[in-house]
């Protein structure tokens, strides 16, 4: 219901509010669009489990018809299930009966209302004008009434008709949306107070409550919180009238948000950080007493979240709310609503909001495993749609989002690995289709950020969970094949940034499973630069590899591009060498790359490259000599696997070898460089 009312307000804002809250509109329009798309997803869906099966069937190799692959290519996303649950919390608007004893202070600070209208927006002027118009029309009406007293009767009749008609409609609507709303209000013995809340009253209540959490003022405060949260939802409801000053609004919100958790905990007699106990309490008498309060609090928090638009406030609210996440576990359907809102923030907010909403999601999901599916699907789809375009600005956000998603997927590896297998199956089906036709349009299906980011997601997932789950092992080989396939289908200098990215992914993968892959063969192209356009040296072009898949043609021979290429290649190579720096065959691993590096070092005309190249060459040679010296004194043969494994074991553990240290410094450099870009 609240959502619907929120929509009303939004509609209103769109209609009449020209200048204000642009950002909120933008956000919401995004949201709307997404939900619409999701709705489409639901159509071809059905039950969530069924979908999983369907996906699995789709990814089977037998289904290689063009159509299937086309649908696959068009939607890497998981189908979503979007059934709204009308659940436990929504049957009440959270109004609590109050203790009439509580002190109320008359409004002595009337002046404030005018004063604290700090924010001047387009509405103020409009409001004033309208005020005048109303007055004018009223005068006219009064004249008419004076002239013809009988008209007053007529008008009265008409008005009463109108009201009854409206209420009919209203009640229909309300019944549909939320039967409880009026019912609670009407059935309640103490109708909600319509006294105007003053700053003094609130402070008094706050003091009372902080002294004794069981004080009856808590109920009043929570009602006030409710009114504050729903402020502006109904234009002529009591809540709007009760709140007149911004100060009061602020007071209520901050106090409740910061103190509610402590108050509830003390009411329930549970110490901090003890979630298990809460679950046990569920059926106890104390819970029964406090439950309505908590319900009201959580529900109103949701309203607040859907009303607020500012990232910082949202972050703040979420941080506060996270402490109370445990209570959400009692209300699954509310949690679902919360999660939907949170996923939206997670995807669209700035870093801190995104992170805090993710933490909240994780908190809730770990308590409510049923909601995990929803979050996994939504999170994955949102990741895909938000990673379509990558530029220097959002690259960090995408990275953060991906890491968060991996966290989420790592919560239940068994379940996630099935999803991962589905998605990887889709990726490889697309790849196969492309390799069959090899047309330019088809190549775009793999030559895009969505595809690459999707691979990257699963690479990260595999790396994190490799040790725990065997399913992931089989995933690894197919992901490695996809990476090789992409590199094979997109050859050429222009794709070097992509290639470097793939090489990095491979390095990551191989580091976790300790298999050998000739990563350097992917990037030998980097080491073959010879020619440079002398012309372009004056122009300073900033190339950020991290946000490029393909180099623009005009930059292909530029100095900057080559410099970047070689620096990135040095990173990838050193990562590869670092992986095998303690292996008995390291000298041979390094042989061919070393020849190339030496040649490049001799021939390059870019002065800035001499030093890093020389350093890598020196380090690799040093390590090569080191391993060679060590292996001259051993007596085992290459076919003695266990001895080969234990070769230089101690040195590896200590990690003091110069090459390890060198690699650490290189990766540190890279991180700092990455920071510089953003």
């Amino acid at each position: 219901m609240a959502k619907k009312l929120g929509k009303k307000a939004r509609k209103f804002a769109n209609k009449h509010l020209q200048g204000g809250a642009k950002r909120s509109r933008k956000l919401r329009s995004q949201f709307n669009r997404r939900t619409r798309k999701d709705g489409k997803g639901r159509e071809d869906g059905g039950r969530l489990d069924g979908d999983g099966d369907e996906e699995m069937r789709r990814s089977e190799p037998t289904m290689n018809t063009q159509e299937d692959v086309a649908t696959l290519a068009n939607s890497l996303e998981f189908p979503e299930d979007e059934n709204e649950f009308d659940g436990d919390l929504s049957d009440s608007d959270g109004y609590l009966s109050e203790d009439p004893e509580c002190p109320h202070y008359s409004d002595s600070e009337d002046g404030d209302v005018v004063k604290d209208c700090i924010v001047k927006d387009g509405l103020d002027g409009q409001n004033n004008e309208m005020n005048l118009a109303v007055k004018k029309q009223k005068k006219k009406l009064k004249k008419l009434l004076d002239k013809d007293p009988e008209f007053a009767n007529f008008l009265g009749k008409w008005e009463s008709e109108l009201v009854s008609h409206e209420s009919d409609e209203d009640s229909d609507e309300q019944d549909e949306m939320d039967s409880g709303d009026d019912g609670v209000d009407a059935g309640d013995k103490n109708p909600p107070s319509d006294k105007i809340l003053t700053s003094k009253t609130i402070s008094e209540w706050c003091q009372l409550v902080s002294k004794d959490p069981k004080a009856p003022a808590l109920r009043n405060l929570l009602n006030a919180f409710r009114d504050a949260c729903r402020f502006g939802l109904h234009s002529n409801s009591l809540s709007t009238q009760r709140l007149q000053s911004t100060e009061v609004f602020y007071q209520i919100i901050t106090f409740i948000l910061s103190e509610a958790d402590n108050i509830f905990r003390s009411l329930l007699d549970i110490p901090d950080d003890d979630k298990g106990k809460l679950m046990n309490l569920r059926n106890g008498q104390k819970w029964q007493d406090v439950e309505p309060l908590i319900k009201s609090y959580l529900r109103n928090c949701l309203d607040l979240l859907s009303q607020l638009t500012d990232n910082q406030i949202l972050t703040n609210v979420l941080t506060r709310l996270r402490a109370s996440a445990v209570y959400f576990s009692a209300y699954p359907s509310t949690s679902r609503r919360l999660l939907k809102i949170l996923v939206h923030f997670w995807a669209s907010g700035d870093q801190s909001l995104s992170l805090s909403s993710f933490l909240m999601i994780r908190e809730v999901v770990s308590l409510l495993p049923d909601c995990l599916d929803l979050c996994l699907t939504k999170g994955y789809n949102t990741y895909l749609s938000s990673s379509k375009l990558v530029d220097n600005r959002n690259i960090k956000n995408i990275d953060l989002f991906m890491n968060c998603l991996v966290e989420l997927y790592s919560l239940d590896v068994q379940k996630s690995s099935e999803r991962a297998a589905t998605s990887v199956g889709q990726l490889s089906a697309i790849l196969r289709q492309v390799s069959k036709s090899k047309e330019k349009e088809d190549l775009l299906k793999i030559d895009n950020w969505q595809y690459i980011n999707c691979i990257n997601l699963w690479v990260r997932f595999i790396c994190v969970n490799y040790k725990d789950c065997h399913n992931v092992h089989s995933l690894l080989s197919s992901v490695a094949q996809i990476i090789r396939g992409v590199a094979y289908l997109l050859p050429g200098m222009r794709y070097l940034p992509l290639r470097l990215k793939l090489a990095q992914m491979l390095n990551e993968l191989l580091n976790c499973n300790q298999m050998f892959f000739p990563v350097p063969s992917l990037i030998f192209g980097c080491l073959e630069f010879r020619e440079i356009f002398q012309k372009e040296q004056t122009e300073k072009t900033n190339i950020h590899f991290s946000s490029l898949l393909k180099v623009p043609r005009n930059l292909l021979k530029s100095r900057d591009f080559q410099e970047q290429c070689i620096l990135s290649a040095i990173e990838v190579l050193s990562a590869h060498f670092a992986q095998w720096s303690y292996h008995v065959a390291f000298p041979e691993v390094a042989t061919i790359p070393l020849i190339l590096l030496k040649r490049l070092h001799e021939q390059t005309t870019i002065d800035s490259l001499h030093r890093p190249l020389k350093r890598l060459i020196d380090q690799v040679s040093e390590n090569r000599d080191f391993v060679q010296r060590k292996r001259e004194v051993v007596s085992f043969s290459p076919n003695d696997m266990s001895s080969v494994e234990s070769f230089l074991e101690d040195e590896k553990m200590s990690g003091n070898a110069s090459f390890t240290q060198y690699y650490e410094s290189v990766s540190k450099n890279r991180q700092s460089r990455g920071r510089k870009f953003v």
């Binding site: 209103f12 809250a21 604290d116 927006d121 509405l123 103020d124 309208m130 029309q137 013809d148 009988e150 008209f151 007529f154 402020f231 502006g232 709140l243 911004t246 100060e247 609004f249 602020y250 919100i253 607020l308 406030i313 703040n316 941080t319 801190s352 992170l355 968060c404 966290e407 590896v413 068994q414 690995s417 297998a421 199956g425 390799s435 725990d468 789950c469 399913n471 089989s474 197919s478 191989l510 298999m515 050998f516 892959f517 000739p518 063969s521 192209g525 292996h583 008995v584 000298p587 691993v589 042989t591 061919i592 020849i595 292996r631 051993v634 007596s635 043969s637 290459p638 076919n639 080969v644």
Partner: protein
């Protein structure tokens, strides 16, 4: 005239004639007479169908108003199309007799006519077939349109039937209109007319080439038309005609002596026919060659030339035909190039058509062309030579042939004193004459001469071919530092790749005398330098090309029964170095795998030092490149280890390298010379790492090789696969791997189902950031502004409803008044009623 058109109607399967046709015909014939008088030259050529159509149209024009005229125009057009559609079919139908009637020239020069009912000979069938192919599109289209055309004709004739009564009186008017319309003939109609004319001429020629041979001239004249479209059509139809009527023999120029002799009428006729044919053919070729220079006609001309070459490689003027086709072999136009290549290839393949004479000419022309352009041509121009066919035993018994050759030459010389043409031509014409005229003599002398002759042609072809190949090799060698910005693919030596391929293919035919020179060339090309220093870094040849040189050298050597005393050591050195130069994306992995296969896998036993060096290098190579390259290297390595059992010591860590350590104690991985690398002293540690290779087939092979260490020298490990390096490479290459069906991802139970609370992917400092809260003041401000906005909105809404309410209240006043009036009225009305 009416009679003749009627007759022709019968010939071309005209649609069923309407009953009133006779009357119609009479009318038409009058028109015809007029028409013919005005165009006396073309009168003969005007066939019935179109005239019918035109005349019908003209007649009706006289009777109808303008809007109907338009409709009639359309009808005429449809008719015309139908007529055209009929033509090719007709051609086929009527062709049967006249083509059979083609004369056959006997050995003594007499032309014999076959009886008309004789079954078709192979050549004719060919001609028909190729012609129908040539016109294939048009013919099928035409036949599809046919029914429509017929029905429209029927309609037209119905119309005529209706009109016929009114026609006779308006005949005078008709002729006047004819004049006017003729003037109004737009260029389009002219085009249509000429098109029709072309079709008629062509048909007539096909129908009866003997009597209509002079039409060729008319066709040629049409080819000089101003309209380019007409010219295009003209040369295309001439092509069809020539393809059909060119005899299966070559027409010889008559000597004066022969001319002087009195001949029968029939022979005269034949001579005239042949003379006209040859003259027009020559003119046609000249026309084509001149048109070829114009971009608009380029493709059409090339197509015609290729088609002619394909159809008549035996006929006169083959030289000019060949010359222009060969010239276009390296055209920058892809379509033209493909056409020419195909024509030349078919020339090479179907030597029966011209007994190999054209082959040698073509190869010689290609050679000259290559020479002229300094080897800067499109690779296709050399690639066609791969289609050449030679007898396997060609190169062998040349001793006998050498004896025969001068004898033959002498004989030719004796005979051909009289001929004034140049030497090459003499030889060719002689050869043909030898076939035609002296066959009986030859048969009497020996039966074996014929194949020998063939052999000689082949040998000369081969000589020309190898001349070309060597020229390319030399050119590549001399200009290895010269970097041309070539427009053709393949870098600065576009011809080298097909040349090497050709050398590989024909390596068994290379003369032993050339062999050492060839090997030296290849050695130099493969990058070998006498001083064991640097390989010049800007060597213009790519790694693939150099590898190919090695492969070719080995093929040449092996195909000559390995009897040669050629030192191929240098090629091993080259391969040894090239392995390090290989780059996966730049070079073709298949060439490398092929080189490994040719040089190492198929070779005989290597000497130990070299084998060891290769083993070590291949193992290192396998560590740095993809699985396909790795597997081919490992297979080769295994093969070497099997052959050189002593090298198995490298599998074991024998301190100091044992007794086998060579002079060089320290292994140098970058050594240029396999003998100086000191590989024998090393251990194949690479294999232990390759066992961890992500690709199971590579790791399996590595383990397999390692298991050799525990076996005796005579034992061999279990054979994993019998594939050679090239096959193994192809099996594992990425392209093939992607075409295999995807493996199913297994689902197994996990050890630990649920993870505890620790974070796995996010770094702690990122998490710390999440907890930072906003300053209180800022929060206050933001919350307050949020509230203010909300309040503004609700206030606005409240006011708005109030305003609306008030306004509608005011509006209600009007209604109130109205109601009041009504009630008053009704009251008064009621009052009235009550009163009354």
């Amino acid at each position: 005239m009416g009679k003749s058109s009627k007759k022709k109607n019968k010939v071309i399967l005209a649609p069923p004639l309407p009953p009133e046709l006779d009357e119609d015909d009479i009318v038409v014939s009058d028109d015809d007479v007029e028409f013919v008088e005005k165009n006396p030259q073309q009168a003969r050529n005007l066939a019935d169908l179109d005239k019918d159509a035109i005349d019908g149209f003209l007649k009706r024009i006289a009777d109808h108003d303008d809007d109907k005229v338009e409709l009639l125009y359309e009808e005429r057009e449809r008719k015309r199309r139908a007529a055209e559609a009929l033509k090719p079919r007709n051609g086929d139908d009527i062709e049967v007799d006249p083509v059979d009637a083609l004369p056959v020239k006997t050995l003594d020069g007499k032309v014999v006519y076959r009886p008309a009912k004789k079954a078709r000979s192979g050549d004719e069938a060919n001609g028909v077939k190729s012609r129908s192919e040539e016109k294939g599109d048009g013919a099928t289209q035409g036949s599809q349109k046919e029914p429509k055309g017929r029905s429209s004709k029927k309609e037209a004739s119905k119309l005529q039937n209706l009109q016929s009564p009114t026609e006779v009186p308006k005949e005078n008017l008709h002729s006047v209109v004819l004049e006017e319309v003729k003037e109004e003939l737009s260029s389009d109609e002219l085009f249509e007319k000429k098109k029709a004319q072309l079709a008629e001429l062509g048909m007539a020629l096909l129908e009866d080439p003997e009597s209509n041979i002079r039409s060729l001239n008319d066709l040629l004249i049409l080819c000089n038309d101003m309209d380019q479209k007409v010219v295009k059509l003209g040369i295309m139809s001439l092509l069809a005609v020539f393809r059909d009527i060119i005899p299966s023999y070559r027409i010889r120029q008559l000597t004066e002596k022969e001319l002087a002799v009195e001949v029968s009428k029939e022979v005269k006729k034949t001579r005239y026919y042949e003379y006209t044919l040859i003259r027009s053919y020559k003119a046609y070729l000249q026309k084509l060659i001149s048109l070829e220079k114009q971009p608009y006609f380029y493709l059409v001309a090339v197509r015609c030339l290729c088609s002619l070459l394909d159809a008549a490689p035996h006929f006169n003027f083959r030289e000019s035909l060949l010359a222009s086709v060969v010239k276009n072999l390296s055209s920058s136009n892809d379509v033209a190039r493909k056409l020419c290549c195909e024509a030349i290839r078919s020339l090479f393949r179907n030597e029966g058509k011209h007994r190999g004479e054209a082959t040698i000419e073509a190869v010689r022309l290609i050679a000259a062309h290559v020479k002229l352009h300094d080897c800067q041509l499109h690779p296709d121009s050399i690639e066609v030579c791969l289609s050449l066919k030679f007898d396997e035993d060609l190169g062998k018994d040349d001793s006998k042939e050498d004896k025969l050759k001068p004898k033959k030459n002498k004989r030719y010389q004796n005979r051909d004193v009289a001929k004034p043409s140049e030497k090459k031509k003499i030889k060719k014409e002689m050869l043909s004459k030898a076939r035609q005229e002296v066959r009986a003599d030859l048969r009497a002398v020996s039966f074996t001469l014929d194949p020998k002759e063939k052999k000689m042609i082949q040998r000369e072809t081969l000589a020309a071919l190898f001349e070309t190949y060597f020229r390319i090799l030399k050119h590549s060698m001399n200009n290895s530092r010269y970097k041309a910005t070539s427009v053709f693919p393949g870098g600065s030596h576009p011809l080298l790749a097909p040349c090497l391929e050709g050398l590989g293919k024909f390596s068994h035919l290379i003369d032993l005398d050339f062999m050492s020179e060839l090997i030296a060339c290849l050695k130099k090309l493969s990058g070998y330098t006498d001083h064991q220093g640097e390989i010049p870094p800007d060597n213009a040849l790519s790694v693939s090309e150099r590898l190919q040189c090695c492969i070719v050298a080995f093929k040449v050597w092996r195909n000559n029964l390995e009897a040669l005393n050629v030192d191929l050591q240098d090629f091993f050195v080259q391969l040894y170095n090239l392995i390090l130069e290989y780059r996966p994306d730049r070079d073709h992995g298949e060439v490398l795998a092929d080189a490994l296969k040719t040089l190492l896998w198929e070779g005989k036993q290597q000497d130990m030092l070299r084998a060891a060096a290769f083993i070590k290098r291949l193992a290192t190579f396998a560590l740095s490149f993809g699985s396909a390259e790795a597997i081919s290297a490992l297979i080769t390595l295994k093969h070497l280890l099997q052959k050189n059992t002593k090298c198995r010591n490298m599998l074991e860590n024998d301190a100091g390298g044992g007794s086998l350590s060579s002079l060089v104690a320290k292994y140098d991985p970058e050594a240029k010379d396999p003998y100086l690398s000191g590989a024998l002293a090393t251990v194949l540690w690479e294999l232990s790492l390759l066992q961890k290779h992500y690709d199971p087939s590579v790791s399996g092979m590595a383990s397999n090789v390692l298991s050799m260490a525990n076996l005796n020298a005579t034992q061999n490990p279990v054979q994993l696969s019998s594939a050679n390096p090239l096959e193994a490479y192809k099996d594992l290459s990425m392209g093939l791997e992607l075409s295999k069906p995807a493996g199913k991802v297994l689902t197994l139970k996990c050890k630990r189902k649920r993870r505890s609370k620790e974070f796995v992917a996010l770094s702690p400092d990122v998490l710390q950031k999440a907890d930072c809260t906003v300053g209180e003041d800022e929060l206050r401000e933001k919350l307050q502004s949020h509230f203010a906005v909300l309040r503004g909105i609700s206030e606005n809404e409240r006011l708005r409803t109030e305003l609306n309410h008030t306004l509608s209240s005011i509006n209600m006043y009007k209604e109130y008044k109205k109601q009041k009036k009504q009630s008053k009225k009704s009251k008064t009305g009621r009052k009235k009623v009550t009163r009354s």
